[in-house]
Symmetry: C2
Subunit: 203 residues, 2 copies
């Protein structure tokens, strides 16, 4: 009987607990979707299936959970994370990516993020934008596997956001059923998180 | 660090391993959505928030996971499960509902279903059909909480299906992104299950 996992508790602290600064810009490697898919293909030839890891960072406002998203330009939003190096451990790789995307580059502010539960896994069967939450039948060589993890924040943190990006706290009710704006991966995060009990800490 | 839960393994056996018989019809309590919501309201006055529990039963065909759904009439599909009695334990209640919906009523065939992980929780804020994977802000008295559990099947089982219902094995790729046919709860089961590693047992 493993039903006990139904009561996983996640502490969620107010957005106001966290401090946000800026750091040098972190440019996207690709300037178009076509470039991105072409680079993916080249990397696949060299290194095989791409594995990427992304973080779900939770804060609360008005007792409702919000997720931190990085906004590029005026519309495109993504979770902080990125591609693992060949052979790299998922947890280590996610911490490395979070440091590069969201931590101040100073040894006096070491981030204290705890990589927690894997909540979703998505598969890219071809060098195309479409992904599925399962490896489709007859696909023996998927091109990418993307894993989403809850990353537990401590009560206070200092985030340093690259100057060309914006960090947004987006409520679950805004993500839910909003595939047009957030895409299939981010818009179903509310469903993935529904099994958790959120402990809304008030200050 | 609880990242280990990313590798939860679920054994999935071929559909052909299972035997399906029939039993006496099990009629729906309501003949319309309006009747259903009215009955919900009466029960809420007597017993408070309704808690319902539903089972995700997995089988495989062609190495792809399928879910068992009960079909009523020609279109409407639902997961096996139902409402808990006031004070009833979730696991016991789900087993009781599975017995009434899917087991042969004979002490010589005791079902051996293992209630596993809770994979999703849905909330009904009002006496209406719409549900959300979170309790919406400002809703202090939700009317229903529905929990979905994986129920682990053993290698062989005998199911007795009420004569007025059909038991279907529906592949994940058919459910995914098919809210029109299956509704918001069932159509996002592929996302909820994506974090599990399925061990496809071949006979």
């Amino acid at each position: 009987m493993v039903g006990a996992s139904s009561s996983s508790v996640v502490n969620v602290y107010p957005l106001a607990n966290y401090t946000f600064g800026t750091k040098e810009p972190k440019m996207e490697k690709d300037t178009s979707v076509a470039d991105r898919l072409a680079r993916m293909k080249v990397n696949y030839m060299k290194e095989g299936m791409r594995t990427s890891v992304e973080a779900i960072l939770l804060v609360q406002e008005h007792n409702h959970p919000h997720i931190l998203l990085l906004q590029i330009g005026n519309t495109f939003c993504k979770l902080p994370g990125g591609r693992l190096k060949p052979g790299e451990n998922e947890i280590d790789g996610l911490k490395r990516k979070l440091c590069s995307k969201l931590a101040v580059n100073s040894p006096s502010f070491p981030p204290n993020w705890q990589v927690g539960e894997c909540v979703a896994v998505w598969w890219r069967p071809n060098f195309e934008t479409v992904m599925y939450p399962y490896c489709p039948p007859h696909i023996t060589k998927p091109k990418e596997c993307k894993k989403l993890f809850i990353v537990h924040l401590t009560e206070r943190e200092y985030f340093a956001v690259p100057r060309n990006l914006k960090l947004l706290a987006v409520p679950l009710f805004e993500l839910y059923d909003n595939v047009q704006r957030y895409g299939p991966v981010i818009s179903t995060i509310p469903q993935q998180l529904s099994r958790f009990q959120f402990n809304m800490v008030s200050s």
